[in-house]
Symmetry: D2
Subunit: 147 residues, 4 copies
């Protein structure tokens, strides 16, 4: 059992996902570039895409409707470039660390057209069981999600 969990952990830690987000006109501001808050939307797309790249039968989107909410505890984001209307943003996602009650993701956002780095993100997430209002053990959640 521990062996299986450990191999799952290793598998997850080596998984990577890449998704593509189109910049909308309303993502930009008076500067003509994407407003800094909207990179949060983009890397959240990366989280959803990553989870669905490792999924089994059910999508991560269904978890919330089952009463399991993936919240965000901490975000560290460094802005390196800027994107404009019409750009496509490439979001590369991987897991940095799986703790007991938290899981840390690394997202790297770049511009598709010229590979310019846009932002580097470290985001710590947790899973809340809405029925018990308690944090769920991350490996328990992942085992449940991947069932």
């Amino acid at each position: 059992m521990m062996e299986r969990k450990d191999s799952l952990r290793q598998k997850l830690l080596s998984a990577t996902d890449t998704t593509r987000v189109k910049v909308r006109f309303n993502d930009t501001d008076t500067m003509g570039v994407v407003h800094f808050k909207n990179y949060m939307i983009y890397f959240d797309d990366g989280f959803v895409s990553f989870m669905n790249s490792i999924k089994n039968k059910r999508n991560i989107e269904e978890m919330i409707h089952e009463g399991l909410a993936c919240g965000v505890k901490h975000v560290d984001i460094t802005y390196e470039g800027s994107a404009i209307f019409g750009d496509y943003v490439i979001v590369k996602t991987r897991i940095k660390d799986i703790g007991n009650k938290s899981i840390t993701f690394i997202h790297e956002l770049s511009k598709e057209s010229d590979n310019t780095l846009l932002a580097k993100v470290e985001a710590v997430r947790f899973v809340l069981n809405l029925k018990t209002n308690k944090l769920m053990n991350i490996m328990d959640f992942l085992n449940y999600f991947l069932k």
Copy 2:
């Protein structure tokens, strides 16, 4: 009873409210003006402000937590001007019509600095009882809200 309802109806139809919304940097787009979708945020502030101007003990914000949701059925919005970062938008709100299952609001949005008209809005709202999943009679809702 009918008399009381009628006098409430008349009172509501003659009520007006004015609120003030500050344009945020992220409300603007590459054009340097407020993106058209954000006027929906501003007139929604007008709705909340209007309801709380007629309220008795409880705020309209509490209704959702009591299981009564004010949804939007129809919006007709004409854009007449544009606002920039730092502008204050004045939202004037009144009720145009109270139907059985819907209530129609009129919102007029203008720029505080020079009274320029920004947008005229007609928004039809309904009240959904989340427990029964049925539309609520509007006067019943208003009587409950104003209790």
Copy 3:
């Protein structure tokens, strides 16, 4: 010349486009459904997709960077259903009318999973020449865009 313009007009009036938008978690509100303002984002995606379905060499996104801004003058939106996190929204777009200084689009938004109608939209747009600050003749704009 007039003939060519007329045939272009006819071609445009019979064109249709369908695009697909994914509902993000932050598109939803406390009700668990997409907030009414966000349908504006979705039909704006429909506009961009439509324009690029008829484009020649340049994307509609490039027009703003050439100083031609497509603004919105009027929106009439009727909400018919609601979408949740994870749904895909299908946006069908066509032109209803081409005036001198305005162009009217029809957007129909439905849920991909079960074809439920979500919203019907009529949106009147104009083209502003940012250099002259004047409205552009729509057929002139379309001829320029399609060049």
Copy 4:
């Protein structure tokens, strides 16, 4: 001169500002709480409010229209609680550090009703001169802004 700059620096480093932001319905998500990206909107309000608390004649909002853009280079945000529709968020802002080309702000967000801590933010900002496309020296910018 250096003395004057140093005393300004000290004055700025000891300044604090408190502003109040109302949670809108569309700030919340399916969880019924404010979506994590929206705290970026709230602390940005704190930045604007802080700058205008130290301003002299012109508002910080006018700087962008003079060609001086305050961008964000880095954000570190820790989420400590959650707010719902109708809550008021109190944003306390101060400067942590003034570098040559960057300035670091500390924002503390709490719920007005019960003082619950919502989020702690460290945000590094820079000033871009849009005419030269170069970063501006921060004390030069502050001296210009406070003139």
